[in-house]
């Protein structure tokens, strides 16, 4: 309650008394002038997942919540786009996507027809750190759905015809993405933060890498990583643990673990330091708006700084976070500004984003950096810390409201080997973070001098102003953008 009526200090200056107000009113009697206080809160308990590991090494997790007759399931492979060979960007995602494009006994169309006839849906692909097949269906149809689900996980055909079809789709999707300033900025930010490290490439490949991917590359990746001792099955919703475990045993119990060891993957994310900071403009003369990104290395999911990190990010992110407040609410420069602390198995990234009219590109870049910088230089007032934590906790709880959200959260913890206790301890862990923790986190992990800036849009409208702030600014025409290289610049004479 205390937080309810607290206006943040910085917001007070913004609220001029409405002198030129246009009062409109339609009351019979004067209404109450202050909001009634809240009643006593009720506590929340989230469902607890239960788990067991099959003899073949498959970890099985069931999380039951039966209010709606729906079930979601995910089969996760603990390897994703980061295992792509350097010249084959996109092979893990293509491998994942191809699972639902044909098995040894079902065609792509038969798979879609069978699942959709049940009213359900099935999807597959790779993310970072994991590949996934997910299915969602009414609980009365779980049996037939799981049979198809297991077939696509275990018996993919990888037909050349489907590989070629998917490759064309990916190339078309890339063309569309490369017409969107925010998508281009996101690709560039990954290259700037991770450079040539495995997280640096576009997850679904590049125009150059996709044509190089052969069936053998796909089969090899599948043979190496798709094995029960590198997999987790998460089933959630209207299903009991007993039934969930029985399904796991029935469909995955005889999935053989290969005799070979799983390859050990190790990598490091380059540190973002003043010496390697870049200020990059990608010139898209026809862009109707500029995308403004600030990007740098973040932390990994297992970091002891995790809660300090997400609380720090929540000060900047969200509707009433500092970025949106300064850029949208106070100045009307964007429809929305925010930030993400993307935590992965190895250090991920911190990225702040906004879209603004081309003329305001430089102003939004400087406002963004100023807000990141302030986090390390001053204590966050208690009132602000309290309300931002409440917002973070509320968002977490809302994310668990749906069957899909619940299964997604459990899957994310499972992939990173984080205890499921974190679900019910989330609120307490957030509450334990203090203002000085935020300041320290920002000083050690969000140093603005090592934070790169990417602006994608019609350069002539913002470049002069940006050059005043950053004399080192580089400009690359979108037609010369090379997503395969950490420089991002196509070298015409390369071959």
């Amino acid at each position: 309650m205390k937080g309810t009526m607290t206006m943040k200090l910085k917001t007070l200056t913004l609220l001029p008394i409405a002198i030129l107000s246009c009062a409109v009113s339609v009351f019979a009697q004067a209404p109450q002038a202050t909001p009634p206080p809240p009643a006593a809160p009720r506590t929340v308990q989230f469902p607890r997942p239960v788990e067991k590991t099959l003899p073949n090494g498959l970890r099985v997790v069931v999380v039951q919540r039966s209010e709606m007759p729906l079930v979601s399931a995910q089969l996760l492979i603990k390897s994703g786009g980061e295992v792509d060979p350097a010249d084959l960007s996109g092979v893990a995602d293509m491998t994942g996507a191809l699972l639902t494009r044909g098995t040894t006994t079902r065609s792509a169309t038969q798979i879609a027809e069978a699942i959709e006839a049940l009213g359900g849906s099935i999807n597959s692909g790779a993310g970072w750190d994991s590949s996934v097949v997910s299915v969602g269906v009414m609980s009365s149809r779980v049996g037939p759905a799981m049979e198809i689900f297991a077939d696509v996980v275990r018996n993919p055909a990888f037909k050349d015809e489907e590989i070629d079809r998917l490759r064309k789709q990916y190339l078309n999707n890339l063309k569309v993405s490369l017409g969107n300033p925010s998508a281009v900025a996101r690709f560039a930010a990954a290259r700037i933060v991770y450079r040539d490290a495995p997280y640096g490439h576009p997850i679904s490949g590049t125009p150059e890498s996709l044509p190089r991917i052969k069936r053998d590359d796909i089969a090899k990746l599948h043979g190496t990583f798709y094995r029960p001792d590198n997999a987790i099955l998460v089933i959630g919703g209207d299903i009991s643990p007993e039934n969930g475990f029985a399904i796991a045993q029935k469909y995955f119990g005889d999935w053989q673990k290969p005799a070979t060891d799983l390859p050990k993957i190790a990598m490091t994310t380059p540190a973002s330091e003043p010496g390697n900071r870049r200020v990059l403009v990608i010139d898209m003369p026809e862009a109707g708006q500029a995308a403004v990104f600030a990007a740098r290395t973040g932390i990994n999911r297992g970091s002891t700084d995790y809660f300090r990190g997400i609380v720090s990010n929540s000060i900047l992110n969200g509707y009433s976070g500092r970025l949106n407040w300064e850029i949208r609410v106070k100045r009307g420069l964007s429809y929305g500004a925010g930030s993400q602390l993307d935590t992965r198995r190895w250090a991920g990234s911190f990225i702040a984003t906004a879209q603004t009219k081309n003329q305001s590109g430089a102003e939004v870049a400087s406002l963004t950096l100023a807000e990141i910088s302030k986090l390390a230089s001053g204590d966050v007032p208690d009132s602000e810390l309290t309300t931002r934590k409440a917002s973070l906790n509320g968002g977490f709880a809302r994310g668990l409201e749906t069957t899909g959200g619940l299964v997604g959260q459990v899957s994310s913890l499972a992939i990173y080997g984080v205890s499921f206790d974190q679900i019910n301890q989330f609120v307490a862990s957030v509450q334990a973070v203090k203002a000085e923790d935020v300041k320290n986190f920002a000083a050690s992990h969000l140093n603005v001098d090592g934070t790169s800036v990417i602006v994608v849009g019609d350069a002539k409208q913002f470049l002069p102003a940006l050059q005043k702030q950053f004399p080192q600014v580089e400009v690359i025409k979108v037609s010369e953008l090379d997503l395969n290289s950490a420089t991002l610049r196509r070298v015409v004479s390369k071959n």
């Binding site: 607290t6 206006m7 913004l14 001029p16 030129l20 107000s21 246009c22 009113s25 339609v26 009351f27 019979a28 109450q32 909001p35 009634p36 206080p37 809240p38 809160p41 007759p69 792509a108 169309t109 879609a112 959709e116 006839a117 009213g119 849906s121 269906v137 009414m138 009365s140 149809r141 079809r165 064309k168 789709q169 190339l171 078309n172 063309k175 569309v176 993405s177 017409g179 969107n180 300033p181 003369p285 026809e286 109707g288 708006q289 969200g318 509707y319 009433s320 949208r328 106070k330 420069l333 964007s334 879209q355 603004t356 009219k357 309300t387 409440a390 917002s391 509320g394 809302r398 749906t402």
Partner: protein
């Protein structure tokens, strides 16, 4: 933006309403709602659900983009943003203090026919939010500075949804040109010029005209005590007077189309050509609406759907292909769209879309297709109703747009009753040659040299491009 675009193309019409069973073994839980109408005309609907200690509050105003004042396209949506500025007893952004700061959230969206405000909060804050919603219904006190800054935000929203994404303008133009007379032809996001022309006086007048208890429906779903709730509603909403002013309603009749029209539009930054086809269809309340919804699902939901199978999978003509029965209160459009795959021609994609229409007219859909669509509808309605806010939304659509809250519990039966013959009948009735408009979207570099006029019906390009894309919270609605 990209996510939005995908939603716009892939997303199938959400049928809000819903209910009893049908598909094999799964029963759709009935929504047990309570209904009352206050003496000032405000309708109140509520559903108790104690499964989580939260509550969703919706206020639906029966005013939408079609009610934008003359020369003020986009005004209803701009006004929706202004509702978060200062009110009689609240400073600007106080709604965020009462929601976000206590672990809740809020937003609003403006659709063609309605404007909806909602909050999701810990249930112990229900009374606080009822007070706040009553306060902004009672009166706005926004000043010039806040008005101008929020208008700039909406202009950025226009750029973000229409100008920045590669096909924003395509969808905008398709909507603009699909209606001849009805105000649905003015895109809900408006244009920069019309937004710039709006004034505080427009704000005052719009609130006075449409934001009144007899034009509002309050919906609350979640953890509360009904008696306590009724008392709070009486206390905070009861005193608001019903104004003694007429409530204007759009009564423009859209003329029938009299022959195919073709439009070629050009845009900057168009990676692959776009093809769109629209047909006028009747109102959401029409008896033909369920069969049109079924046609939409059979054509475009999932990778086994007809358009995906034909255009994307087999012929590989399209990067994506979609159908959308865009049903609205007064009349709607049935839209077919495709983004043409690299190396293929728009004519090929257009012919393939038309071939699918012909197929729908020439033979009934199969029993398996119909059964599949019905199962897909049940699943999507169950998903919608997993959350309190989803339930409130379904109930609001039934009450405000379909005119009867109980349709939340009966519409699923109507959809389940659709036969293959019904789908064929509506395909023949509405997807006729004379009811067809065709849109081709090409990169500006392909614009013919001056002299050739390839765009017979299109004025108004360039500085005020327009389209309906927006968040798919609610068909083509624009959020806060």
């Amino acid at each position: 933006m990209r996510r939005r675009f995908l939603l716009a193309l892939i997303g199938c019409t959400l049928i809000a309403a819903g209910v009893i069973s049908a598909g094999a073994q799964t029963k759709m839980p009935q929504m047990k709602y309570r209904e009352r109408t206050l003496p000032n005309g405000m309708r109140v609907l509520s559903v108790v659900d104690k499964s989580s200690p939260t509550v969703a509050i919706n206020v639906w105003y029966h005013v939408g983009s079609k009610d934008d004042p003359d020369q003020r396209s986009g005004f209803a949506h701009l006004f929706e943003h202004i509702m978060f500025k200062s009110t009689r007893n609240m400073k600007a952004e106080m709604m965020d203090r009462l929601t976000e700061d206590v672990g809740g959230n809020n937003n609003a969206f403006t659709a063609d026919d309605v404007t909806v405000y909602y909050e999701i909060v810990p249930s112990n804050y229900l009374e606080t939010l009822l007070w706040a919603e009553a306060d902004r219904l009672s009166g706005l006190t926004v000043d010039e500075a806040d008005f101008h800054s929020e208008r700039a935000v909406v202009e950025e929203e226009f750029r973000q949804s229409i100008l920045a994404p590669p096909y924003g303008k395509f969808f905008y133009v398709m909507e603009q040109k699909s209606f001849a007379s009805h105000p649905y032809k003015r895109p809900g996001i408006g244009s920069i010029e019309d937004l710039e022309a709006s004034t505080l006086e427009n704000v005052r007048k719009f609130h006075e005209t449409y934001y009144r208890p007899d034009n509002a429906t309050l919906l609350v779903v979640g953890d509360f005590d009904p008696k306590q709730f009724d008392a709070w509603v009486d206390k905070y909403f009861g005193p608001i007077q019903k104004p003694n002013l007429p409530l204007p309603r759009v009564d423009v009749k859209e003329p029938e189309r009299t022959g195919e029209k073709r439009f070629t539009e050009y845009g900057g930054n168009v990676p692959l050509p776009g093809v769109g086809i629209t047909y006028l269809i009747p109102a959401e309340k029409s008896d033909d609406a369920p069969a049109l919804t079924m046609a939409d699902i059979i054509l475009s939901q999932g990778r086994s759907s007809r358009l995906y199978q034909s255009l994307v999978y087999q012929q590989q003509l399209a990067q994506m292909a979609n159908a959308n029965a865009d049903l609205r209160e007064d009349l709607g459009i049935f839209q077919l769209t495709a983004i043409v795959a690299a190396g293929k021609k728009p004519e090929e994609a257009e012919a393939a879309l038309l071939a699918e229409i012909k197929k729908l007219q020439d033979a009934p859909v199969t029993a398996a297709e119909l059964e599949k669509a019905k199962n897909q509808i049940i699943t999507s309605q169950l998903r919608q109703r997993e959350t309190n806010n989803g339930k409130a939304n379904a109930l609001g659509q039934a009450a405000v747009l379909l005119g009867d809250p109980n349709r939340v519990n009966t519409d699923l039966d109507k959809l389940q009753a659709v036969t293959a013959a019904d789908v064929q009948r509506v395909a023949k009735k509405y997807f006729t040659d004379k009811n067809r408009y065709v849109f081709i979207y090409l990169p500006a570099s392909q614009r013919p040299a001056s002299g050739a006029n390839n765009t017979p019906q299109s004025g108004n390009r360039g500085s005020s491009p327009t389209a309906r894309e927006g968040s798919k919270l609610f068909k083509g609605a624009y959020a806060k």
